[in-house]
């Protein structure tokens, strides 16, 4: 009895060993990659499709691409996996996570991985504006992938109805206010259509980054250890935002929900919305009216922060894994695939070469709004990103919301946010 049992186990062990050995010979490197999705649409399918293509072209590399929720979830999952000793080799994470990841000693700079001059040139093949959040201390830590900016979506039918030229969206803050007053539609006291909605939940600091840049002021330095929340242009930018609702009456008072804004726009409840370019394809599919996309209006200059996710390679990786990860990243950011990604989602094609591919060239020619985000890159700045990013971001978010809801004037709320952020960042200076 026992003898037979032994024989069976032996046989099992042998066959397991053989299976394992076979798997080893077929797959030289196995990669695990987490990635987030922050906007609507079936983006996981697009990513899975591109990864499958990669494995077909590189049979010796096996990639497990794991959808990990929104940006916050992706960071939590990747860092938890790192701590548990079962790490991923690379991940797409929020571009602004860079300082956090460096402080945790979780990632390696790409400068340490690239070898050939050709690879070094590749590091410089992306739009410089998209590299702002990926570089610090003279090194490149993040490669742009699903990147966006804020653009202005506007309802051309509403512009016509208000007697405005549908091909001339507001280009300055003053025009925004004067056109906005014409765009508001009321019956009695009830507003049927607002002129503009700028979302102020979810990512208020991001929208605010656009307004401050338009006022020619950045929110932080490039070392990520100083903020400029109480600078005069910052304060007046927040005052302008608040006045859109309180003084000019062209935007609802209080905070505006990020998640339902797109529906508000699609249902014609607002003539203009500021939103991520990542929404472009969905709006295009669902809008029942003629809509346009334009750059954000300027005050002292034009401006928008970039946003979205970068590729990072983790530190706890073997050399051959790093090499395979590089291969995968290069594959996914290749101009042809960046173009495909941009067409399917609305995210920016990350390199000038992507916009020179025949596919994207044709798409942009047929659908000019797709080019707005690219053209706006010239004016783009990095998104708010500092050490202690979570806390600093919340300080600014709370300040913005307390002003928009009328609890505190901009000067006070931003002043106290600045004092507290200075306290947090002191030890990084």
């Amino acid at each position: 009895m026992i003898g037979r049992f032994r024989r069976v186990t032996k046989g099992l062990a042998l066959s397991l060993f053989m299976m394992f050995a076979y798997a080893q010979s077929a797959v030289a490197v196995e990669l695990t990659m987490y990635y987030p999705v922050a906007v609507g649409g079936p983006l996981t399918k697009v990513v899975d499709g591109m990864v499958a293509e990669f494995m077909k072209a590189n049979p010796d590399i096996k990639v497990k691409a794991i959808y990990a929720g929104n940006y916050n979830d992706a960071r939590i999952k990747a860092l938890a996996a790192l701590k548990s000793g079962q790490p991923a080799q690379l991940s797409v994470m929020f571009s602004i996570d860079i300082y956090e990841l460096i402080e945790q000693d979780a990632i390696v700079p790409f400068d340490d991985i690239v070898e050939t001059p050709e690879e070094k040139a590749w590091l410089n093949s992306f739009y410089p504006a998209l590299m702002g959040n990926g570089r610090t201390g003279g090194k490149t830590w993040g490669i742009p992938f699903q990147r966006s900016t804020i653009v202005m979506y506007y309802n051309k039918d509403a512009f016509k109805e208000a007697g405005l030229d549908p091909n001339k969206p507001p280009a300055t803050w003053d025009e925004l206010v004067s056109m906005g007053k014409k765009l508001v539609k009321k019956t009695g006291d009830k507003v049927d259509r607002w002129a503009i909605m700028i979302p102020s939940t979810g990512y208020p600091y991001w929208m605010f980054g656009a307004l401050t840049m338009e006022n020619d002021q950045v929110l932080m330095n490039s070392d990520g250890n100083k903020t400029f929340f109480n600078a005069t242009p910052t304060v007046s930018a927040l005052e302008f935002w608040q006045e859109l609702g309180d003084k000019h009456g062209i935007m609802p008072k209080g905070t505006i929900e990020w998640g339902t804004l797109r529906k508000n726009f699609l249902e014609g409840r607002t003539a203009i919305m500021w939103h991520s370019t990542g929404n472009l394809t969905v709006v295009k599919k669902k809008a029942k009216f003629d809509f346009g996309v334009a750059m954000l209006p300027a005050n002292k200059r034009r401006g928008t922060p970039t946003g979205g996710g970068n590729f990072y390679i983790f530190k706890k990786t073997k050399p051959e894994e790093r090499k395979a990860a590089m291969k995968l990243i290069r594959f996914l950011t290749e101009p042809k695939r960046a173009a495909e990604w941009s067409i399917k989602t609305g995210y920016i094609g990350t390199s000038p070469a992507a916009y020179k591919t025949p596919e994207l060239e044709k798409y942009v020619a047929d659908f000019p709004p797709a080019a707005v985000a690219r053209d706006q890159l010239e004016f783009a700045t990095p998104e708010l990103s500092t050490y202690q990013a979570g806390r600093v971001r919340k300080l600014l978010d709370d300040a913005i919301q307390s002003t928009l809801t009328g609890k505190k004037p901009a000067k006070d709320s931003l002043g106290s946010a600045q004092t507290q952020s200075e306290r947090l960042l002191k030890r990084y200076q």
Binding site: N72, K253, E257, K263, L404, K407
Partner: protein, 294 residues
């Protein structure tokens, strides 16, 4: 002989307890003790390893305005949800315990909110509260009310969150009351009728006192839930605007996973645990004496 027998029995006993004990220790006792220990250390990074800092985390918690704000919110949340949801639950239970047409359907529809996942519920309510296009505003517009930014106004946002919690919980508590009501002997009601007691007197003097053990159970659950039920915040407000709807547990989540300050999160957790322990003990000690157990 008999001592060997006892030993064997003891071994049996311990063996039977082991699986449960292992689970309890790994998932309940050890985390609680580890949390307490962590709250005395600073959050470490690679360049700055974690070190013992005594009560510093507690000190900075006391100076943290947001902490006091979320604590205040949580108290209002508890005060707003507990009595109302229990009252509604009792009312619904008494009603569906009587004879009425389509009783099964009514019971089920009261219970439905409980079985829906909170995240799904929050997604539905998000579109109720949305200004202009939301259900609330569209119904309001029929009666000529102006649109209101329910979740974007610091004065109304917590009320909105409370309303969802009540809607979600009342049906759940109703089930307990309904079960308790069905165990009450019908002779009591017949006797009361013979004595000529009104329905209200009967409820106040007989039904309600007999339901007290259930009420205690429901009350404890309601209190715990008022600290535990924060899923809707992730969808609806993320604690905003300006922390007006943030609750203690949500703030713990933010500290742990947005600020990556595990040790501050532990500190807040210890406070939450202490509060819940004190409340639970208080309820058992004070209320238990006034309850009639059959």
């Amino acid at each position: 002989m008999s001592s060997a027998h006892t030993t064997r029995n003891q071994v049996y006993g311990w063996l039977l307890l082991t699986p449960a004990a292992i689970l309890l220790i790994t998932f309940t006792h050890y985390p609680a003790i580890a949390t307490l220990a962590q709250s005395f250390f600073s959050t470490g990074t690679v360049s700055r390893p974690s070190k013992f800092i005594g009560l510093d985390n507690y000190r900075s918690m006391l100076e943290d305005e947001v902490f006091w704000k979320v604590l205040e919110n949580n108290i209002w949340y508890a005060v707003g949800t507990i009595p109302i949801s229990i009252a509604i639950a009792l009312l619904m239970a008494v009603w569906v315990n009587g004879k009425l047409p389509l009783r099964g359907l009514v019971r089920m529809s009261y219970f439905t909110p409980t079985i829906l996942p909170m995240i799904a519920v929050a997604n539905i309510w998000l579109f109720f509260y949305t200004p202009e296009i939301g259900l609330l505003d569209q119904v309001g517009a029929l009666f000529g009310f102006a649109s209101h930014n329910w979740l974007g106004d610091t004065d109304t946002v917590l009320g909105c969150i409370i309303a969802i919690a009540i809607w979600k919980e009342a049906g759940f508590f109703m089930i307990f009351y309904l079960a308790a009501l069905q165990t009450l002997p019908p002779e009591l009601e017949e006797a009361a009728k013979l004595e000529g007691a009104s329905r209200w007197t009967f409820f106040r003097r007989v039904t309600f006192p007999l339901l007290m053990p259930t009420t205690l159970f429901v009350l404890i659950n309601a209190v715990i839930n008022s600290f535990k039920l924060v899923d809707q915040l992730f969808i609806l407000t993320k604690g905003g605007p300006d922390n007006a709807s943030s609750l203690l547990l949500y703030y713990i989540y933010e500290a742990a996973f947005s600020f990556f300050d595990q040790n501050y999160a532990s500190t807040l957790t210890v406070v939450l645990l202490l509060m819940l322990a004190v409340i639970a003990i208080g309820q058992f000690v004070i209320l238990d004496k006034r309850i009639h157990y059959r």
